[in-house]
């Protein structure tokens, strides 16, 4: 004998929920079966009949229900299950002469009817009860017992149906809430990530712009004394050259020492000029220019530093761009010279230009030594250099950064130690104007 659940599972029903219910329902019918077996111990034919019914129904539930449901749908399966339960109930009831212990299966089975979803569930329940009652009364069941268990069954079903409906309601609500919560969480995480990215970019900009102001101040302070140092050494050299009778020592000054000094001075002035460019951008006027032509020009200028490498260019015919061509050439030369420095003989450097929907994309890629995370972090800061002391000023890439920014563009670097480096520059076709405002003459903090 069996009274497995006859719920009509719904699409929305979580699998684990249905499984949990079924295991408890199975336990209940097993307990009733054990009681029946105990009651009819000794009357072997009755006991055997009840056991067979139980085994048949259990096997059907365990082995066939899922497969049938998959093949014919739950409606057909539940109808078959109802039919089998009716037959089982009748066989067992007649064999046990309708004692209350057998009747118990009826309300117990209806307790597990699932009221939600399947519109045939009530029909099945009514059919079940009517058939069982009619046959039971016709085969000698007591009327009062049949009435008692029928009423009990109806209300077991009603209570169960109501409870299931309420449970589904709250479960669905909870699921909706959980979904909304998860979505909110995802949105929040995304927003947080974006915010963090913006913050980091702002910090970077802030750092570079305060360094820019510092650089401008330093440049100004150096320019003033350098102006007379340069002029004085120049005058002195010219005056000494005009002298006829110089001692050997003074001759050495005129021929070697002073020219070398002037050369050093020129270098200092060039560095300061770079610093100033980093701080302010160059006042070169905006003009339309062919980017690929400027790339060729930069390659010619940097040629000397790239002699040991294979130079590849892949120019995409990007056409006219508005900006400051001299500065763009300077950017490319700086990147190419760096690439030449970082790449051992036999490696390669490539320059790629492309037009895309927002503007142009330039890439300078080498197969050189690459950079560490630490280097990448400080790359664009003035005075940061990985070259040995005295060889690099650490201004090249900060100037590059300043120029690209003044063009309304962006520069990004991709690099792994040992894997080479790739600088990707994106420029708008027309930079946001005006990008360069000459410092006001009325600003008293400036000048000198």
């Amino acid at each position: 004998m069996d009274a497995q659940p006859k719920q009509a599972p719904q699409e929305a029903e979580p699998e684990h929920f249905r499984k949990g219910m079924e295991s408890i329902a199975g336990l209940g019918s097993m307990a009733l079966n054990v009681a029946l077996v105990g009651w009819f111990w000794g009357q072997w034919s009755v006991m055997f009949t009840i056991l067979s019914v139980s085994v048949v129904l259990t096997l059907f539930n365990l082995l066939l229900v899922e497969r049938m449901a998959r093949r014919f749908g739950w409606g057909v399966t539940e109808a078959a299950r109802t039919f089998l339960n009716i037959v089982g109930m009748l066989v067992a009831g007649i064999a046990a002469q309708w004692i209350p212990l057998v009747w118990t299966f009826m309300p117990y089975g209806l307790l597990w009817f699932n009221g939600a979803g399947d519109r045939w569930v009530r029909h099945r329940m009514v059919t079940y009860m009517v058939v069982v009652d009619v046959v039971a009364l016709a085969t000698g069941a007591r009327v009062d017992t049949a009435l008692a268990f029928t009423v009990l069954s109806i209300f077991s079903y009603a209570v169960s149906e109501r409870r299931v409906k309420l449970m589904w309601g709250s479960l669905k609500q909870e699921l909706t809430q959980r979904e909304a919560l998860e979505k909110a969480n995802r949105d929040l995480a995304k927003a947080h990530q974006e915010l963090q990215m913006l913050h980091q970019r702002a910090v970077e900009q802030e750092k570079l712009s305060s360094l820019g102001m510092l650089a401008a101040g330093v440049a100004h302070e150096i320019n003033n004394p350098m102006s007379f140092v340069t002029s004085n050494v120049n005058s002195m050299l010219r005056d000494l050259r005009d002298e006829q009778n110089l001692s050997e020592v003074m001759k050495e000054y005129v021929d070697d020492v002073l020219p070398a000094t002037l050369d050093g001075i020129k270098r200092v002035n060039a560095i300061v000029a770079d610093l100033r460019r980093f701080a302010r951008g160059d006042p070169e006027a905006h003009t339309g220019f062919d980017l690929d032509v400027e790339v060729e020009s930069a390659l010619r200028i940097a040629h000397g530093q790239l002699g040991h490498l294979k130079v590849e260019k892949d120019l995409g015919g990007v056409g006219m761009v508005v900006g400051r061509p001299r500065q763009i050439v300077q950017v490319l030369v700086n990147l190419l010279v760096n690439a030449g420095y970082a790449t051992p003989a036999g490696g390669s450097v490539s320059v790629i230009t492309r037009r895309d929907k927002d503007g142009v994309r330039m890439e300078v890629r080498d197969t050189g030594s690459g950079m560490s995370e630490e280097t990448k972090r400080h790359l664009f800061e003035p005075f940061f250099t990985t070259k040995p002391a005295g060889e690099g000023t650490g201004l090249g890439l900060s100037v590059v950064h300043g120029i690209i920014r003044s063009h309304g563009g962006r520069i990004a670097v991709e690099s792994e130690p040992g894997q080479g480096t790739s600088f990707v520059i994106r420029l708008p076709l027309v930079p946001p104007l005006p990008t360069y405002e000459p410092p006001s003459f009325r600003d008293k903090r400036m000048g000198g």
Binding site: H220, S231, R276, P438, M446
Partner: protein
């Protein structure tokens, strides 16, 4: 002989400019700040005024504004170490005739001054 007034609050800058321009044959007068420069204008009538921008008291641009009123024929040159203002030369009105950035190139500065004197001479004969 063209007369040049040099104004800068840094003595060494004045020294260098004076040395450079004197050997080119100009007659030089110097002032350490704007007020002193304006006093000099009473007795000295320069063809060129070269002024530093940032100075204590009056700045170079204000000084050159006064110069424009007091000695309208003088060429007004602003010299500064702050930033490249060459592209905006002559922009704030016609207060400055020319801009030179520090550190200057000796030959270029002399050539510029000569050129300015030449154009000034032909534009306002008898200055």
């Amino acid at each position: 002989m063209a007369r040049i007034l040099i104004v800068d609050d840094e003595v060494h800058v004045i020294g260098a400019l004076r040395r450079l321009l004197r050997r080119e044959g100009f007659s030089i007068e110097v002032a350490l700040h704007g007020e002193e420069a304006l006093e000099k204008l009473a007795t000295f009538h320069p063809d060129v005024v070269i002024s530093d921008f940032r100075m204590r008291g009056m700045n170079g641009l204000e000084l050159l504004g006064h110069v424009l009123r007091l000695a309208p024929t003088a060429v007004r040159v602003l010299i500064s170490g702050h930033a490249d203002l060459s592209s905006s030369g002559g922009q704030p009105g016609s207060v400055i005739s020319h801009f030179i950035s520090k550190p200057w190139d000796d030959e270029r500065l002399v050539a510029d001054v000569r050129a300015l004197l030449g154009s000034q001479g032909s534009a306002t004969p008898g200055a």
